[in-house]
């Protein structure tokens, strides 16, 4: 399976994350599955004229393009020209390159939340008028039209995340190479369900604090960060706490809130990322699929039932009260 990887208007962090793939390393993993990178901006030897020749060969149909991976949002400014990002050496905006290459690709994979929905590049008034490959925020239709279909007949595959977990990207490619990524394997926003059917809350190491709404008040405290510190792990899709990052990490394990980076428009939460918006002291936002009345009732009940150990540890930066040992019978 031939893969061409282009970096558009983004930070390159999804590639940097990809290089953290382990067991096996990313080179062995891709090669072992018969996945060949035609060109990758960080990895390939070819530069300049050699790359332009490759792009010409793809356009001429001399080189088959099975998968086009796009990392980064697509700048459409200034004034719709796309000239905020010229693909260097070609004089042509990345916007135009994408529109020329995408119809030639067996599949188009948008890597990262910039490429999927616009992401952080569109924060704060979106200075470069950036969009995602097939979405503009949550709205279908980005650099490519909502109705765009790759040669496979599939819409753009949206591997969202800021950055993407290395496995989200490699496993998407593995499934494509094996012919096992059907339309039903994607959620309504085009994200692979193998990670998007989970919530960041699943497996969160702060779950016991969550059960009792025993909350951290400031960053570095161990308690649940939903009530005060802006954490939306109960609403955000991702298996971040089921398969950890960089060995054993995740945002919540690192002591800071989930900011819902796999979702369209996460970049503008309309409140500070690290502060939970409240109305009359009640946090706004419910855990996914939770009826409001039940949540309120359970929260007040569990808060009242909070054991001393959990209450004290919630506002400490380390375990101050260990679990009581049960006497063996």
């Amino acid at each position: 399976m031939n893969v061409l990887w282009l970096q558009s208007a983004g930070c390159g962090g999804c590639t940097m994350s990809l290089l953290c793939a382990e067991s096996p390393n990313v080179l062995d993993l891709l090669a072992g599955a018969g996945i060949r990178l035609l060109w990758h901006p960080a990895l390939s030897v070819e530069s300049g004229a050699e790359v332009r020749a490759l792009l010409a060969a793809i356009e001429a149909g001399a080189v088959a393009l099975d998968v086009l991976c796009v990392e980064g949002s697509i700048a459409t400014g200034p004034r719709g020209t796309g000239r905020y990002q010229i693909l260097s050496g070609t004089g042509m905006p990345m916007l135009d390159w994408l529109r020329r290459l995408a119809p030639l690709a067996g599949d188009v994979v948008a890597v990262g939340t910039c490429a999927t929905y616009g992401g952080i590049t569109t924060a704060g008034g979106n200075p470069s008028d950036a969009v995602g490959v097939q979405y503009d925020g949550a709205r279908p239709g980005g650099a490519l039209e909502a109705g765009f279909r790759a040669r496979s007949g599939r819409r753009v595959i949206n591997v969202a995340g800021c950055p993407t977990h290395p496995d989200w990207v490699t496993e998407t490619l593995l499934l494509l190479a094996a012919g096992q990524l059907e339309e039903t394997a994607l959620d309504a926003l085009g994200r692979p369900r193998f990670y998007a059917d989970h919530l960041v809350h699943h497996g969160c190491s702060k779950n016991e604090f969550y059960e009792y709404k025993a909350s951290a008040r400031s960053l570095s405290e161990m308690g649940c960060m939903m009530e005060h510190l802006g954490c939306i792990g109960t609403q955000a899709v991702g298996d971040c706490n089921i398969r950890p990052w960089n060995g054993q990490g995740s945002c919540t394990r690192g002591g800071y809130p989930c900011i819902n980076c796999t979702a369209p428009e996460f970049e503008e939460p309309r409140h500070s990322f690290t502060e939970t918006p409240k109305i009359a002291g009640i946090p706004v936002g419910l855990p996914t699929d939770m009826p409001k009345a039940w949540f309120m009732a359970l929260a007040s009940l569990s808060k009242a039932a909070t054991p001393e150990r959990i209450a004290r540890n919630a506002t400490a930066d380390r375990v101050e009260v260990p679990p009581t040992l049960r006497k063996p019978r």
Binding site: Q7, A9, G10, C11, G12, G13, M16, S17, L19, C20, N25, L27, D28, H40, A42, L43, S44, V45, E46, S47, G48, A49, E50, V51, G77, R83, Y84, I86, L87, S88, G89, A123, G124, P127, S128, A130, C162, P163, S218, L219, S220, P244, W245, N246, G247, Q248, G249, C251, T252, G254, G255, Y256, I259, E267, S272, F273, T274, E275, D317, R318
Partner: protein, 478 residues
């Protein structure tokens, strides 16, 4: 133009982070003039005004996937200054540890994945080192590339543990870090560092790090024969990389890893072969050849107003930073020269491709020792975060050293909101366009005189020079 004179547009320029295009005017078989274009504008400095100051810590790391922690650290320091607070000493130590790991893996990635693969190319097939270079550094296949990826991923487990993930952590805060390490964590960190030392000594240097750090002259360096460093030095001697792409000898470092007892690597300037104190008030960003509107200004007064017309007299989205009117080179070589390492000082006399790459290797070795000290000095019983603060009004300057050099953030907070935010990144210095006096940026100047072989469309020597700077183009314009 006479026969053989020509103009080349080099791009897409890969194995650099982000987008880079270089225009070369070739005369008499060498580069007469180079113009460096950063062809991507995103406008981070325009996203931030109006936002809660704390949100900078979520947004600015995402300027760059390879210098993400450096961006975090600069923002945290600028915010701390703006509200007159300081991190706890142990919080500062853990932040330095996380930051130094990013810089170390960036050096390792640059050497193995970005820089060395060029020596596997066909035009070098007749050289006696070519077979070894092919075995070690063939893109996506070489043995060194695989080993690098595995050592890199393993060392990043320390960042996963302390900071949740890499890149784009929110762990570094004005008051310290969000997670207090335990004694068990400290033991794991030391175990990871021990494994990384084994990689460096077994693969990269082929000898104890202390022996490489003890080198004091370029001559002694060129006699180093072991490890992949030895292979590089053999190539460097054969190809004359010491004289290729020489810089102006002006080096800038903001100082890396501020700690209770001073910086891990000292701040300062090196100019005319001598140290000079650093005064950031002398920094201006010139916009004469940038697709930006407005006057030249100190970053605390600067604006980012893109020229939608992309006027013909300009050629890059990058601004042109100058210190007291002069270009400055920044990066590992600058840091090690300013910090006073004798090998770096000797390398600086030539200041070419060899100097930049060797200084990165030197810093890689020295940073391992620094990391071990930082980890051993963790006191799990201490506090890692100072109390929460309110950010109402203030101005801040956050100066750090990213892998690629001096990174500064300048911000102003008014009534609890960001009023202004300006960033000058290392590659903004190194890859700056010309200024109003017509003075080329450091890479533009270093490329003048570089040989170009007949028929070369993407000249190899030009690639060596450009990659020796380890540019990060996504940071450059931001």
């Amino acid at each position: 133009m006479s026969e053989g004179d020509r103009r080349l547009i080099v791009g897409p320029f890969n194995r650099v982070e982000g987008d880079l295009e270089i225009r070369l005017d070739i005369r008499d078989g060498q580069v007469a003039e180079a113009r460096v274009n950063s062809p991507l504008y995103r406008g981070f400095e325009r996203m931030l005004p109006g936002k809660d100051p704390r949100d900078a810590l979520t947004i600015v790391p995402r300027i760059c996937g390879i210098c993400s922690i450096s961006q975090s650290a600069a923002a945290a320091r600028a915010l701390a200054m703006a509200c007159s607070m300081a991190p706890t000493p142990q919080g500062e130590r853990v932040a330095a540890l996380i930051h130094a790991i990013e810089n170390v893996i960036d050096h390792l990635t640059h050497f193995n994945l970005f820089f060395m693969p060029d020596f596997t190319r066909a035009p070098y097939a007749g050289r006696d080192w070519h077979g070894a270079a092919v075995a070690r550094f063939t893109a996506m296949e070489g043995a060194a590339q695989r080993a690098t990826l595995e050592a890199r991923a393993a060392l990043l487990h320390v960042v996963g543990m302390l900071a949740g993930k890499w890149p784009h952590t929110l762990a570094i805060q004005p008051g310290g870090v969000t997670r207090a390490p335990t004694a068990r964590d400290q033991a794991r960190i030391l175990a990871s560092l021990s494994a990384f030392r084994r990689h460096l000594e077994g693969v990269v240097f082929g000898a104890p790090l202390e022996e490489f750090i003890a080198l004091t002259s370029t001559d002694a360096l060129l006699n180093w024969q072991t490890g992949d460093a030895g292979l590089f030095l053999r190539i460097a001697a054969d190809l004359g990389l010491a004289r290729l792409g020489q810089g102006a000898g002006r080096y800038l470092s903001f100082g890396a890893y501020p700690l209770e007892g001073g910086h891990g690597f000292a701040p300062g300037l090196w100019r005319g072969g001598a140290l000079a104190p650093l005064d950031t008030r002398g920094i201006t960003e010139d916009l004469s050849h940038s697709w930006m509107l407005g006057p030249a200004a100190h970053p605390s007064q600067g604006v980012t107003d893109p020229d939608e017309e992309m006027r013909d007299s300009a050629y890059s989205w990058c601004k042109a930073p100058r210190l007291a009117g002069e270009t400055m080179e920044t990066g590992a070589l600058a840091r090690q020269v300013v910090d006073g390492h004798p090998l770096a000082r000797d390398l600086a006399a030539q200041g070419g491709v060899l100097a930049r790459v060797a200084a990165r290797l030197l810093e890689l070795a020295r940073s391992q020792l620094l990391l071990e000290d930082l980890a051993r000095g963790i006191r799990p019983e201490a506090s890692f975060m100072s109390g929460p603060t309110t950010l109402r009004d203030g101005v801040g300057e956050g100066l750090v050293e990213a892998a690629r050099g001096a990174l500064g953030h300048w911000l102003r907070i008014e009534r609890g909101r960001i009023a202004a935010y300006q960033i000058v990144a290392p590659t903004t210095w190194n890859f700056s366009p010309r200024d109003s006096a017509g003075a080329p940026g450091p890479v533009e100047a270093a490329l003048a005189g570089v040989p170009v072989q007949p028929g070369e469309e993407t000249p190899l020597a030009v690639q060596h020079v450009v990659r020796s700077f380890d540019p990060c183009m996504v940071c450059t314009v931001h």
